[in-house]
Symmetry: C2
Subunit: 220 residues, 2 copies
């Protein structure tokens, strides 16, 4: 990148950081636990959220923002799964930012919510740099993507609080090397918690829900 674009980018990121800090304060005051989800396109963010909404059930008030360049397919997939859903379309922009999140929250009463989930645009690079004010950032990597994504896209793993290895029901079909995948995550972020889940079969999903509820209790 040219020196000029680096300088402008720094300004944009600084502005985003300030706005994200404001959002985080507001979320804390409202008592809503905010988790965001980042991954490649097709790692299974929406399906994970659909099953998460189902498993949380009626006992929790949940709202979900979903980001994509185009379409409201993901919002449609989540409607009926539970709670409020709103799609953010970014046009040609490869990530959500704090301003988009603030605009999308608009008329929602945060104080009435237990959880706010934010599904980012499918991208293993751009979302890494943009704080959205979330309390928990979850990076998903599916078994079908191979084992070396943490090594090739270290920045997004550095920015995350939890890694979910998804689509484990396909592990055998793709010859997934579980030990290598875990070793690669550990090489980049030794302290990053890792869970293995299949939203399709439900394997590991109860552990994920428990982690989410514990994280909320600790934050509250």
């Amino acid at each position: 990148m040219s020196a000029r674009i680096v300088e402008v980018r720094k300004g944009v990121l600084h502005k985003n950081d300030l706005l994200a800090a404001e959002l985080r304060d507001g979320f804390g005051r409202s008592g809503v636990f905010v988790a965001s989800f980042v991954s490649s396109p097709g790692s299974g963010k929406t399906e994970l959220l659909r099953q998460t909404l189902h498993l949380l059930g009626d006992g929790y008030k949940v709202a979900t923002l979903v980001g994509d360049l185009a379409t409201d397919n993901d919002a449609k997939r989540l409607e009926g799964a539970g709670g409020l859903v709103r799609q953010i379309t970014t046009g040609t922009i490869c990530h959500l930012d704090a301003a988009m999140v603030r605009s999308a929250l608009d008329d929602w009463d945060l104080a009435a919510l237990d959880f706010l989930f934010i599904e980012n645009v499918g991208n293993l690079v751009c979302p890494a740099s943009y704080d959205l004010g979330e309390a928990l950032r979850v990076v998903l990597t599916s078994v079908t993507e191979g084992e070396d994504k943490p090594l090739k896209y270290p920045t997004i793993f550095h920015s995350a609080d939890l890694a979910l290895i998804t689509k484990t029901d396909l592990a055998d079909a793709v010859g997934f090397d579980r030990a290598a995948a875990r070793a690669n995550i550990a090489a980049v972020r030794p302290e990053l918690p890792v869970l293995e889940v299949s939203a399709r079969t439900g394997a590991g999903m109860q552990d994920w829900i428990e982690l989410l509820l514990r994280a909320r209790s600790r934050a509250g």
Copy 2:
């Protein structure tokens, strides 16, 4: 994006377009056919290239550039498959640009080559805007990513000359809806040729090689 960053980005893209046009002229004069490959992380670009190098065999002189944020894993995977290989690491940048390609070509004798393959950073957004001087841009989308990626990431499909649906050996395991995937590609780019391949089983690979050879003949 702010008005200021849009303006700077336009300048960067304009400069890239000029350099890409220079590269394209040079490739044409040297008689090397240049194909680039874009997709999500984990769609199988490197494995497609490995099998492509193998199938092209000793009859063609081939060189490959592979882009990643970090590691030279992909270059290592391609070494021994045939021809010259060089890794470009982009740091935090989510795409290759024409200047990176020019630098990486460095001491290679283009006139001695039949094909130059350029594997972009795994990303369905950023690479769309950066012309690399290639004659053929191939977008890969694997069956494990689901059917709606063309609708959600239209820009990259608009920028491509060919779509490859990859990992078709996993289609049944993931419940891939072939007709829906093709309809979604056609909805975004009605005229875009589509091939279905499995680099693992070899299904469709001969059609892909023939298309590549025909495209080279036409260009020559």
